[in-house]
């Protein structure tokens, strides 16, 4: 390696040094790779779990009717995870909307359960108005309820006749 006749380290030492350097660099690379892999797995797991939660959430409306300025909907959780109703939008017949009225709903609807959603709107929830209204229920799986990007929408057409059957969404 060095010039002939000069003092030099032996080949063995050189090899050991090189091997040590290689092992150190290798361990460092392995550690980095492992860390990256672990954090990526966690992130991917979280994303997948939220996507699965989104897929597993599903609702339907058993019955909807208008009564005394209120739209009352019996919302059934037909999915595989508890859901929460996050918001309601109204689209009146003939255009307009979305209106965002006050509403009251069961806090969390468990799998297979029915929750009551009551919407207060004297104008569009009156059975005497002779106008239908499309109710869009904004809901989410309970475990993704803090992520508005994961919210789902369920439309339901509410007929004006008292206690008539609406269209399912």
């Amino acid at each position: 390696m060095w010039g002939k006749g000069r003092g030099a380290i032996s080949e063995v030492v050189a090899s050991v040094i090189l091997a040590s350097v290689t092992v150190c660099l290798g361990l460092m690379l392995w550690g980095l790779a492992t860390g990256w892999s672990f954090s990526s797995s966690l992130e991917f797991t979280r994303e997948t779990d939220e996507s699965i939660a989104q897929i597993q959430s599903s609702i339907s409306v058993d019955l909807g009717y208008m009564s005394n300025g209120r739209c009352i909907l019996y919302v059934r959780n037909v999915g595989d995870t508890p859901v929460k109703i996050m918001g309601v939008e109204l689209y009146p017949e003939g255009g307009g909307g979305p209106m965002r009225p006050n509403f009251d709903a069961t806090d969390c609807i468990e799998r297979g359960d029915v929750g009551v959603l009551t919407i207060d709107d004297d104008t569009y929830c009156s059975s005497d108005s002779d106008k239908a209204v499309k109710v869009v229920i904004i809901y989410s799986a309970e475990r993704t309820s803090n992520d508005p990007g994961r919210y789902l929408r369920f439309p339901y057409l509410l007929a004006p006749a008292n206690l008539s059957r609406g269209g399912s969404g």
């Binding site: 090189l18 892999s37 797995s41 599903s58 058993d62 059934r76």
Partner: protein
């Protein structure tokens, strides 16, 4: 020793690949597979949801008016009913929760479900049933109102016999151990209702309508005959089972009856003349005035006649007369006159109006005419047979003429002779003149 670092480096890289990259890839693959399984699961659930197909009817028990749901699974999947919502027009809402086994198998018979709600007459009910998969079905009878059953059962009866009564009865029948449905009748909701019909022609066809709720019914027809004192049952057709889930039609074709003709038309058909027995005329100038007489000809067919008569021709004629210069019978205007009648049913009576104009001779004697009415021809409605030559009794109308004559009003010195009379002093006789003395004649 040369190359050991390269070997170590290669070993480390391999270790990284096998301990980090490959497990990571396997983990990602597994997670993705899990996600896809969930997607497929949701997809399958949605497909199943859309494959559900239920038909739901609402009806009541005729005994206590309890509401029942009739469920028919027309799809290929079993369906679990979870909730039933019964809303009434008074604003009430009853939620029926499935506590037991409410699974409706595909292609199963119609399943009745007791809802533990009693229908009231002044309320209408809207019923929705929700399934476990998240579908909601409204009962077809929307709303269910026991005072206004939604379906019509049309019962057609063919070839009814003449002169028979038919009682058509619809009754709620037992069905899987239950009696469901009701028929509108005298009151809003009955378990049975009957219609009564009298057949007035041979092989008569009639359709009868009943309004009813969904359910199982029997339809029966009883044929009654009058035995002189009461209506006696001679035949019964049915009972026939009819399942009502929509409007329905049932036809009873009774045996065809060859129609009978009228065996003795002279007894079955009546004809008579209604005319005054005498008419009066008086001199006007040197001739007697023409006399007009209204003549009624009464025709009838007895109720027991086997068939109606069509296209009847009724004739009025003068068969004899005396002391007449001539006569005319109107509306025809000739010496005889015929009037056509379109139809005469058994039991019918009609009067035909003729006008007879008589022209008296100038001599002082009274006269007469003898009238006769007859059935010239008629056709049997069912058999097409021709009936004719039925005559009325001859009826004579006397024509009386008022003539002038003198008479002795009184005799003697006490006689108070009016001014328009003649007092013959020599004989003490009062002679008066009158023109109200009739001269009539009658046939021999």
């Amino acid at each position: 020793m040369k190359g050991i670092s390269s070997i170590l480096g290669a070993v480390i890289l391999a270790a990284i690949v096998f301990t980090v990259l490959i497990p990571l890839l396997i983990f990602l693959q597994n997670t993705t597979t899990l996600y896809h399984l969930q997607v497929l699961e949701r997809h399958r659930a949605e497909i199943e949801r859309f494959q559900e197909n239920l038909e739901i009817h609402a009806t009541i028990s005729p005994d206590n008016h309890d509401i029942y749901l009739l469920v028919r699974n027309k799809g290929s999947l079993a369906v679990n009913l979870t909730n039933v919502y019964i809303a009434d027009s008074g604003g009430g809402l009853t939620i029926w929760n499935s506590t037991g086994n409410s699974v409706i198998s595909p292609l199963s018979p119609i399943t009745p479900i007791y809802l533990n709600v009693t229908a009231e007459e002044d309320k209408a009910y809207t019923i929705h049933a929700a399934t476990e998969r998240g579908r909601s079905y409204a009962a077809v009878e929307k709303p269910l109102n026991i005072t206004d059953p939604p379906y019509i059962l049309q019962v057609t009866v063919l070839n009814m016999k003449y002169d028979r009564r038919y009682l058509i009865t619809v009754e709620v029948a037992d069905w899987m151990g239950l009696r469901l449905g009701c028929v509108a009748g005298a009151t809003s909701c009955n378990e049975t209702s009957s219609l009564d019909y009298y057949a007035s022609t041979w092989n008569e066809n009639q359709t009868f309508f009943f309004k009813l709720l969904p359910g199982n019914y029997t339809v029966a027809i009883r044929e009654l005959e009058w035995n002189g004192a009461t209506w006696e049952k001679v035949n019964e057709y049915g009972p026939r089972n009819v399942l009502i889930l929509d409007n329905a039609v049932t036809i009873f074709r009774l045996p065809y009856n060859a129609p009978l003709s009228i065996s003795d038309i002279e007894k079955a058909f009546t004809i008579s003349i209604d005319a005054p027995s005498s008419v009066f005329t008086k001199m006007e100038g040197s001739i007697y005035k023409t006399v007009t007489v209204n003549i009624g000809v009464n025709i009838g067919l007895i109720a027991a006649a086997n068939e109606s008569l069509r296209d009847l021709r009724i004739k009025l004629e003068v068969v004899d007369y005396k002391n007449l210069d001539g006569y005319n019978i109107y509306p025809c205007g000739g010496g005889e006159c015929e009037i056509e009648v379109e139809k005469l049913r058994p039991g019918d009576n009609k009067t035909l109006n003729f006008r007879l104009e008589l022209n008296p001779t100038d001599n002082l004697g009274g006269g007469y005419v003898v009238l006769r009415a007859s059935l010239v021809t008629a056709r049997g409605e069912m058999t097409g047979k021709t009936y004719d030559s039925v005559y009325s009794d001859d009826v004579a109308v006397s024509l009386c003429k008022f003539t002038e004559m003198y008479y002795i009003k009184c005799v003697g010195s006490d006689c108070d002779c009016p001014g328009d009379c003649t007092w013959i002093r020599l004989f003490k006789i009062c002679i008066c003149k009158t023109s109200i003395f009739p001269r009539c004649d009658i046939p021999d």
